[in-house]
Amino acid sequence: MFLLLPFDSLIVSLLGISLTVLFTLLLVFIIVPAVFGVSFGIRKLYMKTLLKIFAWATLRMERGAKEKNHQLYKPYTNGIIAKDPTSLEEEIKEIRRSGSSKALDNTPEFELSDIFYFCRKGMETIMDDEVTKRFSAEELESWNLLSRTNYNFQYISLRLTVLWGLGVLIRYCLLLPLRIALAFTGISLLVVGTTMVGYLPNGRFKEFLSKHVHLMCYRICVRALTAIITYHDRKNRPRNGGICVANHTSPIDVIILASDGYYAMVGQVHGGLMGVIQRAMVKACPHVWFERSEVKDRHLVARRLTEHVQDKSKLPILIFPEGTCINNTSVMMFKKGSFEIGATVYPVAIKYDPQFGDAFWNSSKYGMVTYLLRMMTSWAIVCSVWYLPPMTRQAEEDAVQFANRVKSAIARQGGLVDLLWDGGLKREKVKDTFKEEQQKLYSKMIVGNHEDRSRS
């Protein structure tokens, strides 16, 4: 053991030197540019390199699979149902026509065969329904060297496994500590900075400082996640007195949007670290935080938001009307609350590129900490943000129609599917009003004609 002593001090000094070097690099290449809002282009270069590696890996797998005669790309999920998009009336007529040998006088009555249609529809939804599909992560067509996205691809070659192992090493031992250090720096700077700014008297200087403190810290956090963001149409960015509305995929959406503009946040007061951050932020500039009890009271919420929006000196509010995280393949129903306030709405579409890391937060599967760890051990988070032109509610529209109009615009821009369903279905059941539609249609068909007959 005593023989190790000289080596001991060597190791310690080596450690000290490497830590210093790491920190200097960190400071120079990441934090300083973040503070000033410049970019060296390192992340874009990183992304290009990664893409080349993924392309090579996929080619390798395809070649390997062909050699072994193994099917690599599984059939499309919808392949099992022979879907026939006809309406209820047409289908039932078709069933009856092919069935009955009686002289058809074309007045549909109840037939034994009518049960076919509903039975089949029921089977189809049991096999595959539109809603549940939206709440599980998107399946990739090529492999991005993350075992968590490896559904279809199996062991192909040694070289690939080595590459994957190298990837694991880089991600967990190099990138992860770096990112955690950055995140730590970012959050502590945010708390300290906003508290300090809070001591200043209200005025232009305070506003200026608080905006920049916020921006700086969000930029550091963006680098902490290695998020490579492309902003489109920045001229349409939200202005004071407006409401910014976006589709929701994960809590990271907030960081992504806030690093490119100044927003007032809206949310529930949390405890713990989040609570500390929230309290600090609100000292520097007015955000809208609600107590848990206040959240239930819709009128109170609406009133506070309206007050905020009418004060032109306050920043635009950032709201996610879906109410929950969706897996970024579709946009679900927007809750009408934010659209009733009557302010200008600035829609924003966010689309993540799943090749580099799946940003979707499946809150029923992963907690917040696990989710953040997963984010920090992915390669990168690549996304595109489109700022859409502002919209206001027209005279003939009600809040729901307005919300749907905004939703379609966002879905169209982001290339997402526009769904009528409520994101709350992730946790609750269907409202009864929906249940009745199909039954109403069918019964109208039967009874309407039955009454005609009994009358004639």
Partner: protein
């Protein structure tokens, strides 16, 4: 990786028993796991996780059909408490389209199996006959969504349909003769199903041979 061998043997066995291809079996297995929450069996409550199914007026009958011992070929009556993947596939296989390449006899057999599945949906007490009560029950469920229809209208529709069925099966009845119910053979007659190979779209919910 080592478990892959026995898994593919199982898949082959299931392929033979139910007629699905191995790709379809894997897809259905994923769906099964989703419905069961990664458990090896499904219970009735698991079907509550399918939001689209709520729209269906005969939802309870469809779910019940999955657990019906007659459909599972495990008995002549009663309900199972839970089903495993093989049972799930057995029920799904009733919805595969009829294979055009089979001979006439087999086609008829296939048709009969499908119609028997529907018969079981009507005949809830498993006594082999669809009584007036059971018929009314189905009609009421199908028409239940519409608040404007009173129970009486639904009943009269059911009664009318039942009388027609009786006249087809038994012919002219004596005034005090009681019609006991539609048996399976009557069911085949009354419906006069022409589930020919071309119009098999009605019951053909999946791709692949029967």
């Amino acid at each position: 990786m080592g478990a892959a061998h026995s898994a593919s043997e199982e898949v082959r066995e299931l392929e033979g028993k139910t007629g699905f291809s191995s790709d379809q079996i894997e897809q259905l297995h994923r769906r099964f796991k989703q419905l069961s929450g990664d458990q090896p069996t499904i219970r009735k409550e698991n079907f509550n996780n399918v939001p689209d199914l709520e729209l269906n007026p005969i939802r309870s009958k469809i779910v019940r059909a999955f657990f019906d011992n007659r459909n599972l070929r495990k008995g002549t009556s009663g309900l199972a408490d839970e089903i495993n993947f093989e049972d799930f596939l057995t029920i799904m296989s009733y919805f595969r389209p009829i294979d055009t390449t089979m001979d006439e006899e087999q086609v008829q057999l296939c048709r009969k199996e499908k119609l028997r599945f529907l018969f079981h949906m009507y005949d809830s007490d498993s006594d082999g006959r669809i009584t007036l009560e059971e018929y009314r029950n189905v009609v009421e469920e199908l028409l239940s969504g519409n608040p404007h229809i009173e129970k009486e209208s639904a009943r009269s529709i059911a009664d009318g349909a039942m009388m027609e069925a009786a006249s087809v099966c038994v012919g002219q009845m004596e005034p005090d003769q009681v019609y006991e119910g539609i048996t399976f053979d009557d069911f085949l007659k009354v419906g006069a199903w022409e589930l020919g190979v071309g119009t098999g779209a009605a019951l053909g919910a999946c791709r692949g041979p029967c």
